[in-house]
């Protein structure tokens, strides 16, 4: 191996190091945590991913009189919103999102048992990796982000037959269905799903996503909309709930996902 001294800075630039946000989670979260001591403690378990502590902390707060719905929305969900903020600022990354979401879900599952009739969510979506495609890591990440944003996710898994998706949509009546594909030869299942839904008179948006999928393909068939990456899925879903149909999502797509 050559012993010549090399100035690597003349060959490449480490933008990841140059542009790093060196803020700490504690510094950013200090201004965002709830002031109520019970809710602050609950939100902190999510923020700092204290997966073993969240159960006892939630039970203690409930026992001391915190309303379960308030505990969920202003404690657990508030903690997750701070996590999302840290993620957007590149202080937290994917593992923190996954662990914080899991912490939040444990807390919610305890608190919602004390809500008569259960907790209502924003709405229901069906997610899956398409027929013939075993790659589901992207779908799993997007599903966590959707749950963390207050949606009910019916996750059908991977390599899901088109007809299974159609039958489940008819039964569960979601407001959106998403399919992910890593291969160009499997992504065509998204178009087949959209075609069959349309034929059945079900005009919900069909989100096509995943490594092989590009915007041009997702918008090449009626009902089709696109998500380039997992964090874009919740804001797009929010717009659908706000009344946007698949055509309006397409028209406003750049604005909806700007900066995400």
């Amino acid at each position: 191996m050559s012993k010549t001294k090399i100035d690597y800075g003349a060959i490449l630039r480490r933008y990841d190091a140059e542009l790093e946000n060196v803020s700490t989670p504690e510094a950013i979260a200090a201004k965002m945590l709830p002031s109520d001591p019970h809710l602050k403690e609950v939100a902190s378990t999510v923020l700092y991913m204290k997966i073993r502590e969240v159960g006892p902390v939630v039970m203690k707060a409930l026992k001391e009189g915190v309303e379960p719905l308030i505990l969920i929305n202003k404690g657990l969900v508030a903690g997750m919103e701070i996590v999302s903020n840290l993620y957007a600022q590149h202080v937290y990354y994917l593992p923190e999102i996954m662990m914080a979401a899991k912490t939040m879900e444990i807390g919610i599952s305890i608190a919602e048992k004390q809500i008569p009739g259960g907790r209502t969510t924003k709405g229901k979506v069906i997610m899956h990796a398409v027929e013939g495609d075993p790659h589901d890591i992207g779908k799993n990440i997007a599903a966590v982000m959707m749950r963390s944003s207050g949606f009910t996710v019916l996750d059908l898994g991977k390599d899901v037959a088109v007809d299974t998706v159609i039958a489940t949509v008819k039964e569960e009546k979601p407001f959106m269905v998403s399919g992910t594909a890593l291969m160009t030869t499997t992504m065509t299942a998204c178009a087949a799903i959209a075609e069959k839904l349309k034929a059945a008179g079900i005009n919900i948006p069909v989100m096509a996503a995943g490594g092989a999928v590009h915007r041009d393909f997702a918008e090449s068939f009626d009902l089709g909309i696109y998500s380039e990456k997992a964090p874009q899925t919740p804001p797009i879903a929010d717009k659908i709930l706000a009344g946007y149909d698949w055509k309006k999502i397409r028209e406003n797509w750049d604005d909806i996902v700007e900066g995400i």
């Binding site: 090399i6 690597y8 490449l12 990354y93 593992p95 495609d133 075993p134 990440i141 991977k158 390599d159």
Partner: protein, 465 residues
């Protein structure tokens, strides 16, 4: 038990160079790999929709893609070409795949006979097995994917392929969890330990079938684990997964990929196994790699470096479509072939070690993964794998820990820059790996308990446990 590599094929990293391996191999129509010349390997994908019928898919692969490639190789004066058909999932049905395997065989034979060009075809079968349903024969009552896997092996070997390969998925249920949760112990358990057992299970059978039909058992890759980590770690502007994590995961994956040669695979191994440089250092078998000329498939941070000691140079995959310069596969074959021509010129002029070091230094500090794959560091990681070669767990752990310490040393001597988050994750991994049990049984017990609820698809029967 399969053979284990406990000694290094190369006594020093300096010995390693592209185009030369310790165990050159000949097959196909005049193909010689690792024998003093680097070979271009072209990989391609059919257009969406062509998978809908047998005739249409055969036409796409044989009449369009393969013929285009062979014609362009002649046009540009390339002496060698290996085609690689990575099967789309629909080809798991023998009626879809058999005409393609035999059709490509007939075509390369015709071109070799007519023009004298050295040719071969590698077929890489899909591994559709799912941990939740069962990885071994007889376990998957729902889809029978393990049986379909072996049918694919038979179809490749009975219809005239030259090389058999796969991108196997053993351990993937843990790899997915590990990558998304930043959990290096889960990666070690899934990929380094369980994945190695699955490799031994499938590769013994694959080698047996391949030998019966005189087909070359090429090799495998941890595409489903280490490459997922690498792609999610991404480029300079992506940080979902920390690059120190993907680098250490890559080192662990080498201990798994090594199992294919231990079961009788002879190389060339799989292009997308970036850990192939570590495996070559241990085994001396021919390696296939990809990097700068696979930008059609993905971008990574070691595009030049990966060419440093390779014997085949690949484009990973490109979808067939028209470009200004011909079809897409013709254009990407052009970039591959000319790069290979440069390497072979360097060999002819006695400058191969200079070019190797140019490739390597170009990307040595672009990121932690390139740093551990630089041939001098890769050799050190191979050495500890060989030292613990008899034990799947200990050798994978040693690979991960050695890789992590190499990165730390590079950072400490200010050769390699790390972000504070990359450094934090690196230190956490070193601490975690150092604290793990020193024997397989304790490690298994620890992980089986730790991940019982976290990885619900884990079934010990998948790994013969």
């Amino acid at each position: 038990m399969a053979k284990r590599f406990t000694k290094m094929a190369y006594s020093s990293p300096e010995e390693m160079v592209f185009g030369h391996s310790k165990a050159p191999i000949s097959y196909g129509f005049g193909m010689k790999v690792g024998a003093g010349r680097v070979i271009p390997e072209l990989n391609y994908a059919p257009r969406p929709g062509t998978e809908k019928s047998v005739d249409r898919l055969r036409k796409e692969y044989v009449d369009y893609i393969s013929k285009d490639a062979l014609d362009r190789a002649l046009t540009l004066g390339f002496p060698d070409l290996q085609l690689e058909t990575e099967w789309v999932s629909q080809m798991a049905a023998p009626e879809m795949s058999a005409p393609i395997v035999s059709g490509q065989r007939d075509l390369v034979e015709k071109y070799h006979d007519k023009y004298g060009i050295n040719l071969a075809v590698r077929h890489t079968i899909p591994d559709q097995r799912e941990a939740g349903q069962g990885l071994r024969l007889g376990l998957d009552k729902e889809s029978a994917y393990p049986e379909r896997f072996m049918t694919c092996v038979d179809t490749v070997c009975e219809n005239g392929a030259d090389v058999l390969s796969v991108e196997s998925v053993g351990g993937k249920e843990f790899a997915d969890y590990a990558v998304t949760h930043g959990d290096i112990t889960a990666f070690l358990f899934g990929v380094g330990y369980l994945g190695s057992m699955d490799m031994e299970y499938i590769w013994k059978q694959m080698v047996s079938v391949a030998k019966k039909h005189k087909v070359i058992p090429g090799g495998d890759t941890n595409c489903s684990g280490a490459n997922v980590a690498m792609f999610m770690a991404g480029g300079m502007m992506d940080n979902d997964v920390q690059k120190t994590f993907s680098a250490v995961a890559r080192c662990i994956s080498a201990a798994r990929t090594l199992v294919a040669p231990e079961c009788g695979a002879t190389g060339p191994d799989k292009d997308c196994g970036y850990e192939g440089v570590i495996v070559k250092a241990i085994t001396g078998l021919p390696a296939a790699q990809e990097g700068k000329n696979c930008q059609c498939a993905h971008a990574d941070l070691q595009g030049n470096l990966m060419a440093q000691v390779t014997d085949m140079w690949s484009n990973e995959s490109v979808e067939y479509h028209p470009e200004f310069g011909g079809s897409s596969i013709q254009c990407w074959l052009g970039t591959l072939g000319y790069e290979v021509s440069l390497m072979n010129t360097a060999i002819q002029m006695g400058q191969e070690r200079t070019l190797r070091d140019l490739y390597m230094n170009s990307d040595r500090t672009r990121g932690p993964e390139g740093y551990v794959l630089a041939y001098d560091n890769a050799w050190k990681i191979g050495k500890v794998i060989a030292e613990y070669g008899d034990d799947y767990y200990l050798r994978a752990k040693a690979a991960g820990l050695t890789g992590a310490n190499i990165i730390m040393e590079g950072y400490d001597k200010k050769e390699l820059i790390l972000t504070s988050k990359q450094l934090l994750v690196l230190k956490k991994m070193i601490k975690e790996l150092e604290a793990l049990p020193d024997n397989e049984d304790s490690f298994y017990e620890y992980c089986a308990k730790k991940y019982k609820d976290e990885v619900p698809d884990f079934n010990p029967k998948n790994y013969g446990l």
